[in-house]
Amino acid sequence: MYLNIKSTKENTFDAIVVGSGMTGGFAAKELTEKGMKVLMIERGKEIKHVQDYDTAMKQPWEIEHRGKTTLVSAEERWANSRFWGLGSEEVVNHLTNDKENPYVEKRPFDWIRAYHTGGKSMHWGRQSYRWNKQDFEANAKEGIGIDWPIRYEDLEPWYTHVEKFVGVSGQKEGLDVLPDGHFLPPMPLFAPEAYFKKVMFDKFNRPVTVGRVANLTQPQAIHTELGRASCQYRNKCARGCPYGGYYSSLSGAIPAAVRTKRLTMLHDSIVAEIIYDDKKNKAVGVRVINQLTNAVTDYFSKIIFLNAGSINTAALMLNSKSSRFPNGFGNDSDQVGRNLMDHQLGAGATAMIEGFEDDYVYGQRPNALYIPRFRNWGNDKQTAYLRGFGYQGGASREGWNRGVAADGFGGDFKENLTKPGAWTISIGGFGEVLPDPNNRMYLDPDKKDKWGVPLIVFDAAFSDNDRAIRKDIVASAVEMLETAGFKNVTPYDRPTHLGLGIHDMGTARMGRDPKTSVLNSFNQVHDSKNVFVTDGAAMASASCVNPSITYMALTARAVDYAVKSLKKKEL
């Protein structure tokens, strides 16, 4: 091993942040804005906001395979291409090459990864929902997993803080199940969706709202001063947005951190270990392998934020063994890597809508409609399962591709396909998954990657509760679409595994008791308090709403606490 021994001083910072994605970016922004000198370390290649969005402005005919996954992509990105559209050449080069970064599936796990500046924040669907009060209380009430050490009220101000910075468009609804946030103006529902909303309310008393989404419908000074502009409604966000119309680390947090002149960024730098000083009894830094040169360098800091994404954060902890932590850093409880959760995705129903022939839409809405959880909520009691699910979906008019399955060919057929077709609607569930210590990832004792870091093994699957929820996701979708009077209602239930929801979480959970949890109520590692974990690993349960805004709120709250503690010399 070649050890790059620069002077320790040169490699010492106030704080180190591991990962530049959704949560790492936010940690770096908050830390630098509070006066910290920060080193953010990213394992993947550098992507520069706007200039490296190489497909963003391509016209349809400039995309050679027109959005289809090539055999080469399917082989290289064998895991990423399990998710709809991620194998397409519009985006595929921004997703991790799975062949070069293999993992082991003891039981199958659909692991979607984006190793580069901004991580998965470049690719996310931007759906942003606050958790509700119940979400934090349910574990304790139902005796599932462990109790959260915090409640909604602890996070509430931080949700607002994050929403303001990120810019979330949404409609206030005054619902307990889906707390309102600090919103930019909502996007419109389309005509048949507005009808659907009315029927669902009249017949089931179920609210339907337009998706809450991190796209700027009306940018504020806090956005424009970072160079972000209004969304142009192209719905090509997945390619990266040249306008900064949607939030990512690249468009928001990183420019904000750079602006402070206190951020140093490393790319191509894999954090392989947390360095624990047994004499000082604390974590003092990290060991980094350059992915291009294999050079190994140590960096030091007073505090460390782990934001490598739930799975990589847990892997990094497990790979960091010291005499104090022989089972992996912070792993006295043996909970690191366990309780791996996700959301269920890929089940729901579609239908044809008769009528609304005169209604059409100008522009592409980078958003959906949302139906908040209604199961095991209020008066509803399910006997088959705990918790519930929400739906995302929407209505649209069929385009030319309706011709593929239709009969006919020739001049009239061709002419007909240039006009908008019938309205169709699709709704798909996001189902809560319960924590289970036997759903886990760990390090392979033998197999290593090309940098000598152990491969990650997945050993996790859906439970009976999860499957019962999934069944109801399909049945309720059918019932709702039929009740709305839509035609040809068709259920779908794609076979999936944990991971496909891309909401992996739980692998270093927060809790009240160091015996059963890894982190305390401020995301500090119980026995190494200058190390904070604020990505999805921290989650003690999963709720059924998209998690990123919650991860960011936890991050901002933890940074606030860390900096205050540091100033009080408690860390």
Binding site: P60, N235, G363, R365, G399, F409, K419
Partner: protein, 183 residues
Amino acid sequence: MNRREVIKSVALMFGGTLSTPTLMAMNHWEQATTPTTNVAAFGLTVTQQKIVAEVAEMIIPKTNTVGAKDVGVPAFIEMMLKDCYLSSDHQRFMEGLTSLEQLKFLELNEAERRGAIKMLEQQTKEQMKTPSKTVPFWRLMKELTLLGYFTSEAGIKASFEYIQIPGKLENIKLKPNQKSYAY
């Protein structure tokens, strides 16, 4: 039996209640040899390319606007098959294509071609009722023709109102005969 009779008898079968033999099966019944498909190196012969071009043009003909051939759909289809489809898909595609080849499709007049394609369409519908990992020739041909045409520069501009940057999002009322937006 000459090919005209072949078509006639197949047409008869469709009118009747007989189970549906594929064109491939029809060829076997004619004792013709089926050319083997070399899947490792996927490529079409000149004749096959011509058939693909003619069939694509039948799906999207040149009218007062450009057609499939004008915008390069035939080459697009071959490229897509090669780059994006597995050998099992190639095989299924070749089954359909070789049966048209053996039917001497290129020598048929327009009405005969239409008749053959209509039959193929009916058969495909039957075949699609059986779940399979691969898609029959006609379905794939249609999918790739529409994809190639409606995403080509000339195809998009001739068919739709192409808007690269909408700039706003609005519910609107459709005007009579209004074309779809493409983005």
